[in-house]
Symmetry: C2
Subunit: 366 residues, 2 copies
C-alpha cells in the first residue's frame, strides 16, 4: 500500500502519517519516562485523533494533556479519564469544565487568586489544580521568583475543599529558541527553579508535584530527575522545527503533506504545488521557508532534498524553489511531499491523516 | 442581541461577523461593477459559507470563483451553477471536475500545453478554459510577454471541441506589496498587458474575455474599463492587511475574533487571550503583529486601540501588548476582540461565524 499504490489515493493535499515512526517516537519517550520513574502525560493537541491516542494507550499511557476544554471533552468521549487542560483556565467555560470534572479526573491551570476564587465558587466537582509557573519563557504563568504571589494563589486554592492543590506546572517554551546543549541547560534550570518553589510551599504545608513539558528538552534529556511528570506533545510527529533544534533526526518526522504539482516555471526553476497556508499553516522555519521537499517512495517518503524549499504560500498555492535536477524530474500531475515546519499546526488544518498503510484516521474538528 | 447580550453566547474564541458591513462591502463592489459594465464573479474562498453566498445572490450575483474542486462542489450543492476554479487545474482531480462539469458551467485554469491536452483527453463534458496569465506577480501563469507560449496553449485548447477557450485570467497579487496609487497603477498596467495578449490572440482568430481579480485594485479602481470580469474575494470581509494597504477603511472590516482573557502580566503589561494560531493563523501584518485589539460594544465592536497589538501566537494562546490604561481596564474572564490580519485564513480556521444578530452561520470544512 506504499509508494505507487498509496499515490493512487492522493488527488489533493493529503497529510501522510507514518505509524512506525510515530510509534517509535512514543516508545522512545515512554521508555525514558519509565526509566526515570516519571509519568508521561503526553500533550494530545499535536495529533487530536482518537486513533493516535490509542497508540499511546497501547504503550501504557493512561493520562493525557490537552489545550482546550473541547479537546478534553473529545478525548473523554474516547475513553481517557485523566486529563489536564494545560492552558490558563478559561473561566467563561466553567459549566463545561464542571461537566467534565464529573466524569474524568480533570486538571486545571491557575495563575491568579481571582481565577482560583472563581473556580472555587463556580465548580461543584473535584478538580486537580496546577499552579502555572513561568520559569523564564514569559508567555504566561506566575513568575518563579514571585514567592509571595505563588503562595497567595496556593492559599486561595487551598481554601476550597474541591480544589486539590496538585502541583506546579511549567512550559519552558524558551527551549524553542535554543539548540542542543543549551536546551538541556534550560531543562536543568527549569527543574531547579520549580524545586525552589516546591520547597517553599512545603515549608507552608503544601506538598506539590512538578510537571514540565516542552518537546525539545523532553527529547534531549536522558534521565528526568527531581520531577514527577513530563508533558511533551510534538514528539509524536516531530517536524522541521524540531529537527533544526536538534531535538530529533529527520527520520523521526512522522507526518508529511503530499501535494499535487499543478504548474512549473522554468525561468525561475519554481514548481507550483497544490498545498498552501490552509494546509501547512504559515509557520516559518528559522531559515525562512515553509517546508522541505521529499518524494513518495516504496516505504513512505524519501530523505528531503538538500536545497529545495517551500519559499512562499498563498491560501492554496505553495511555491517550491527547486534546482535544475529536481525541476527536470517533476511533472505536472506528480506528487511532492512537504515536511512541515510545525506539525501541530499542519495537523490541525487537515482534519485527517492517511497512514502509509492506506488507512484514513479522522481528527477532531473544533 | 449585540454587546452585552451577544457576549453571553461567547465562551471561547468566536469569529464575529457584522452582516451590515459585509453587505455594504458587497453592495459597494457590485455597484461599481454594474456601473462599469463588468461581471462581478466574487471569490468565495474568503467566506466559504452558503449563507454568506446568499447575500451575494440577493444582490444579483450569479457567477462565482472558488479555489478548489471541493469548494466548487460545495457551492454547486448550494445552488450556484456558474463556477470558476481560479487555481491551476489539478489534473489528479479530473474525475471530480468532470462530474462538476456535468451539473454546472465550470471554468478551469490552464497554463501549459500538457494540462490542456490532459483535460481534453480526460474530460467528457464542456468546460470553460481560462488561460492563466502572469502579469508580473510571478506566482503562477504564463508570462504575459511570452506570446508564443500563450499561443501554443490556446491552440492546444482549441483542438478539443469540449474545451471552450473563454478568456485570459490573472491575479495581480503584487498589489499586496503596493499601496494606494501604486495599486491603481498596477491595475492599469495589468489591463494593458492583458489587452495586448487579447489582441494577439484575436489576430489568430481567438476571441477571449479578460478577467482579473485582486481585492486591492478592485477596491481602489473607480471604473473598470477594457475588461469583462472582476473576481475579488477578500473585500466581503476585508482585514488589517487591506486596511494597511489603503484598500479599505477600518470600519469596513466585517469579521473579528472575540477572545476570552485568561491571564494578565502586570510586569510587562501583557494580556493573555484564548485565541491562537489555530484561530487567527500565523499571518503577520506588515508591522509585525498578528492583529489589532477592539472591544465589544452595543453595536458590534469598537474602533481598534491605537497601540495594542497581538504580538505573539502559540497554538491556542495570544499575547496582547497593552498600555497601562487598557491593562487596567481588562480583567480575566472579559472578552477582547481581535481584528484579523488576513480574514480568509482566519475564517478558514474557525468553521463558523456568529453574526451580530446572534445567528450561527456554518462554513464548509474541507
Amino acid at each position: 500500500m506504499i509508494g505507487g499504490d498509496l499515490s493512487q489515493l492522493i488527488v489533493k493535499p493529503t497529510l501522510l502519517l507514518d505509524p512506525n515512526r510515530a510509534m517509535r517516537n512514543i516508545e522512545h519517550m515512554a521508555t525514558r519516562a519509565d526509566h526515570s520513574g516519571v509519568r508521561l502525560r503526553p500533550h494530545f493537541k499535536t495529533h487530536q485523533a482518537a486513533a493516535v491516542g490509542a497508540w499511546f494507550r497501547a504503550r501504557g499511557v493512561t493520562a493525557v494533556t490537552v489545550s482546550s476544554v473541547d479537546m478534553a471533552a473529545y478525548f473523554a468521549d474516547h475513553g481517557w479519564d485523566d486529563i489536564t487542560i494545560a492552558f490558563p483556565a478559561n473561566v467563561r467555560q466553567h459549566r463545561a469544565m464542571n461537566d467534565l470534572a464529573q466524569r474524568v479526573r480533570l486538571g486545571l491551570l491557575v495563575e491568579s487568586v481571582d481565577t482560583a476564587v472563581f473556580l472555587g465558587q463556580h465548580l461543584t466537582h473535584f478538580v486537580d489544580i496546577w499552579l502555572k509557573i513561568d520559569v523564564g519563557y514569559q508567555r504566561t504563568g506566575l513568575d518563579w521568583q514571585d514567592e509571595a504571589g505563588i503562595s497567595a494563589v496556593a492559599v486561595a486554592v487551598a481554601q476550597f475543599p474541591h480544589l486539590r492543590l496538585t502541583g506546579l506546572l511549567t512550559h519552558a517554551g524558551h527551549t524553542y529558541h535554543a539548540q542542543h546543549t543549551a536546551i538541556t541547560d534550560i531543562y536543568q534550570q527549569t527543574v531547579t527553579r520549580l524545586q525552589r518553589i516546591q520547597a517553599s510551599l512545603q515549608r507552608q504545608g503544601y506538598t506539590v508535584a512538578l510537571s514540565l513539558g516542552d518537546t525539545p528538552s523532553c527529547s534531549l534529556v536522558e534521565t528526568f530527575s527531581g520531577i514527577d511528570e513530563i508533558r511533551p506533545g510534538n514528539f509524536v510527529f516531530y517536524d522541521v522545527m524540531q529537527w533544526q533544534l536538534g531535538a530529533c533526526r529527520e527520520e523521526d518526522i512522522a507526518v508529511a503533506l503530499a501535494c499535487p504539482v499543478v504548474a512549473k516555471h522554468a525561468s525561475r526553476q519554481q514548481i507550483v504545488i497544490y498545498g498552501g497556508a490552509v494546509h501547512l499553516s504559515k509557520e516559518m522555519s528559522a531559515e525562512g521557508d515553509y517546508g522541505r521537499i521529499a518524494h513518495l517512495t516504496e516505504n513512505g517518503w524519501s530523505a528531503s532534498h538538500p536545497t529545495a524549499r517551500v519559499i512562499s504560500l498563498s491560501q492554496e498555492h505553495g511555491i517550491v524553489q527547486a534546482d535544475a535536477a529536481l525541476f527536470a524530474q517533476v511533472n505536472v500531475g506528480d506528487l511532492l511531499v512537504v515536511l512541515p515546519v510545525h506539525s501541530c499546526l499542519t495537523a490541525n488544518l487537515n482534519g485527517r491523516y492517511l497512514t502509509l498503510n492506506g488507512d484514513w484516521l479522522e481528527m477532531a474538528r473544533f
